[in-house]
Subunit: 408 residues, 2 copies
C-alpha cells in the first residue's frame, strides 16, 4: 500500500514510517519540522541525538535498500496538503502531525490557541484535501485515550449504546478531556466524524494511551535511524521520564497521590497497531475508533515497577510525590475497552523489567546530556506557565491570530 505518514519527524511518526517501509509499504514521510522548533522555544531537547530527515531517509535506503520519500509539508497550508494527496494518491494517510503536549497547551492563552489552531485546522485542511484529491483514501488519525477523561463507567471504543426513557441509540462516547491539547483531539474527532458522514470519507481514530520505550527494531539499526526520546516536563511522558530520572539518580516525580490510572503501550505496539489499521480499512463513510493501548497502570504502579527493576540490580530509587500541577482525579474508576486491535491480530508486548532496563540503559549512554532541572513541572493547569516557572528563553509577545478574510 502507499502510505503518507504526517508528522514523520516525531517520536512515533519516524518509527512508524520505518516499520511500514519494512513491511513492504510504499512510504512518504512528511513533516513541517516544527517539533524541533518547539524544543528550542521550550529549552528542551531529545536525550538521544537525532539526525535530520534527509539524513535519516538516506541512511534508511543504505541500511534497508528501501526508499522513503521525504516531503516538507505544513498542514496549515490547504493548497500544499491538497497537492500532496493529489501527487501521491495514497491508500492511507497516517496523521501524527499535531502539537502533542498537554503541558505545552496549558502554558498560556497563546499556547492554547496555537495548539488548537495547529491541530484542528491542520486536520480540517487534511479532510478538505482528502475530499478534493483522495476521497477513497483511509485516514488513520492519532487521537488519545485522554479524550474520554475518567468517567465512572466503562470506557468503550468511541461509541456507546444508550437506553434512555425507553428508547435506544448508539451515540458518540461522551468526552471529558482535561487540557487544551486533549480537547484539540476531541475537536478533531468531532470534525472527522462529520466528514465521514457528509462526504463519505473513511477514517480510523486511534485513541492511543501513553507510549513508552526507546525505539523499535528498525530505529536500533543505526544511530542515524534513532527516534527522539523526551524526558522533560513538557514532552516527556510518565514511564520514559521515570526511566530517565532513575538513570540520573533523581527521584521519580509522581504528580499528586499517584492513583491516576491510564492506558499504556510499548512503542513497538504503536507501529504495529497503525499497520493493522491500514491493512483493515473501514468502509467508505465509516468513522471507527480503536482504543490503542495494551495495559492499564496507575502512576504509582509505574513508579513501583521502575523502582523494582532498579532494585534487581541493587540500586535504590526514591519516589517523590509533588503537588499535582494538573487538574485530574487522583483516585477514580478506570476500565477502558481495547478489543478492536486485538481482534485484528495485535499480540501485545507487556511491560517487562527487561524493557525498563533497556530504556534505562539507553538513557545511561546519554546521561551527560540530561538537564535535571527539566524533570520538574513548570506548567500549572490553574495558572499556566507564567510566573510559576523559569523562562528558558527570552519572552516574546505572541502575535494575535487574525481572522481569515475570505470571499467566495
Amino acid at each position: 500500500m502507499r502510505v503518507i505518514v504526517l508528522g514523520a519527524d516525531g517520536y512515533l511518526g519516524w518509527p512508524t514510517a520505518l516499520h511500514l517501509s519494512t513491511m513492504g509499504h510504499d512510504v512518504i514521510a512528511a513533516d513541517n519540522l516544527i517539533r524541533r522548533r518547539w524544543d528550542t522555544l521550550c529549552g528542551t531537547h531529545s536525550l538521544v541525538p537525532i539526525a535530520g530527515m534527509k539524513r535519516r531517509v538516506l541512511r534508511w535506503k543504505e541500511v534497508s535498500g528501501k526508499q522513503i520519500a521525504w516531503e516538507r509539508l505544513d498542514l496549515m497550508s490547504l493548497a500544499d496538503t491538497t497537492a500532496l494527496i493529489a501527487q501521491y494518491q495514497p491508500d492511507a494517510v497516517v496523521h501524527f502531525a499535531e502539537q502533542r503536549s498537554a503541558p505545552y497547551s496549558m502554558i498560556s492563552g497563546a499556547h492554547a490557541a496555537e495548539t488548537q489552531v495547529n491541530n484542528v485546522i491542520g486536520t480540517l485542511n487534511l479532510l478538505f484535501a482528502l475530499r478534493e484529491s483522495g476521497p477513497d483514501c483511509h485516514l488513520v488519525k492519532l487521537g488519545t485515550m485522554g479524550e474520554y477523561g475518567t468517567p465512572n463507567i466503562d470506557i468503550e471504543e468511541g461509541f456507546i449504546e444508550i437506553e434512555h426513557n425507553g428508547r435506544k441509540d448508539r451515540l458518540p462516547y461522551p468526552k471529558q478531556a482535561s487540557s487544551f491539547y486533549h480537547l484539540s483531539k476531541v475537536h478533531d474527532s468531532n470534525n472527522i466524524m462529520f466528514t465521514c458522514r457528509a462526504w463519505g470519507l473513511r477514517a480510523t481514530d486511534l485513541n492511543q494511551g501513553v507510549v513508552y520505550g526507546s525505539g523499535t527494531p528498525e530505529t536500533d539499526l543505526h544511530s542515524e535511524l534513532r527516534t527522539r526520546f523526551d524526558y522533560d516536563d513538557i514532552w516527556g511522558t510518565a514511564l520514559n521520564r521515570f526511566c530517565a530520572q532513575a538513570a540520573h539518580g533523581h527521584p521519580l516525580t509522581v504528580y499528586g497521590s499517584g492513583g491516576q490510572t491510564r492506558g499504556f503501550l510499548d512503542i513497538r505496539d504503536t507501529v504495529r497497531c497503525v499497520e493493522l489499521a491500514i491493512l483493515n480499512p473501514p468502509d467508505r463513510g465509516e468513522f471507527r475508533v480503536f482504543n490503542q493501548f495494551t495495559e492499564q497502570f496507575s502512576v504509582n504502579q509505574l513508579a513501583d515497577r521502575v523502582r523494582a527493576a532498579r532494585l534487581a540490580h541493587g540500586l535504590e530509587t526514591v519516589i517523590e510525590h509533588l503537588a499535582n500541577p494538573r487538574i485530574e482525579m487522583e483516585a477514580h474508576y478506570y476500565n477502558a475497552k481495547h478489543q478492536h486491535l486485538l481482534d485484528l491480530g495485535l499480540v501485545p508486548h507487556s511491560l517487562e523489567d527487561s524493557l525498563i532496563d533497556r530504556v534505562i540503559g539507553m538513557v545511561e549512554r546519554y546521561k551527560g546530556r540530561i538537564k535535571p532541572e527539566l524533570f520538574l513541572p513548570r506548567v500549572d493547569w490553574r495558572f499556566g506557565g507564567g510566573g510559576k516557572m523559569p523562562a528558558p528563553s527570552k519572552r516574546r509577545r505572541v502575535p494575535a491570530l487574525r481572522s481569515v478574510s475570505s470571499l467566495y
Copy 2:
C-alpha cells in the same frame, strides 16, 4: 448588573443589549463589526436598513435616557479582550460574537477554518481573559441546539445520566453536529466545560433553537434602533426566510422532504432567556446548559403555518421542495427538553399567525430591497460553494493560516 454583550451588532446581540439596558442593567456593547464585512463578501444584506453602532447608541440614549457603552473589539486579540474585562469588571458577559451561519462554514476549506478559528479561538481568548481579569464573572455563551444533532433518544439539557454495565455516571450529552459552524459550538462547549472545572469559572451554555421575528419592543421604538433581518440562503433562517419569500410572492423553499424537526423561539424570548440566565448565575466552577427554545416544528409545519397565515388574507402561497443541500435526516425522532428556562420564569411567546403577519408586513415595507436570487441555496454540504453557485463577488485566494510561533 454590569453586562458586556459581545457581538452586539448582530441580529440578536443588539436587541439583547437594548433589553438588558431597559431592564436597568449597565450595558457595554462590543463587536468587531465583521458581520457587515461578511455581508459584503457574500453579496448579502440586511433587508431592514440598520444604523451604525455609534448612531444606535446615541439614538438609544435619546429615546430611553439610558447609556450603552460602545466598544469595538475583536476577540481574536487576547490582550484587548483581557483589557476590556479588566476595565469594566462585568458581572456577566453575554457571548454572541461568533460566525453563526452553517452554510457559510461549508463554502470551502478556508471558510470552515475561518469559522472554527474565529469561534473557538475567540471563545478561548475570552476564557483566558476571564481567568486573568474576571474569574467571578458569569459567562453566558450562545450555543446551538444543532450541537446535539438528531439522536434517536430524548435530548437532555447538556448532560445525561448513563447506566452502563452496572455503573452510573452523569456525563456530557453526546454531540452529533452537522456543519463546521455547529461543530465550532461543540468545540466551544467542550473548552468552556473544561475551564469551569480547571479554573472555577462559571458559565451557562445557551443551546438556542432557530430564532424568528423581526424585532423587540425596543428595536421598534425608532428606525435607527432596528436590528438586522436576513432572508438569504447564507444568513436567513427558516421562518424568517419563508416570511420574506411569502411577501415577495416567491415559493417557500423547503430543503428535501421537510420532515426535519428543530426547536424554535421568538426573538422576544431570546432576550428574556439571556436576562433570566444573568439574573440566576451558576456557582463558581459550574458549567450548566439550558436548551433555549420554546416549540418544536418540522420545516413542513413552518411552511404550512406561513401558507395558512397568508390564506387568511386570501393570498395563495406555493411550497417548493428543493433537493436538500445539507446532510441531515429528513424524518427522525426529535424530543428535546427545555425545562430549565421555564423553571426560571420564562413565559414563552408561542408562534401565532399574528407574528407571521407582522414579519411579513415588515418585509413588505422593504420589498424593493429583496434580491430574489438570494433565496436559493448556493452552498452544498457535499461540494461546498465552489462551482455550484454564482460568485457574488470576485474570487480571491484565501491566505493560509500560519501557526502562532510562541515562546514562554
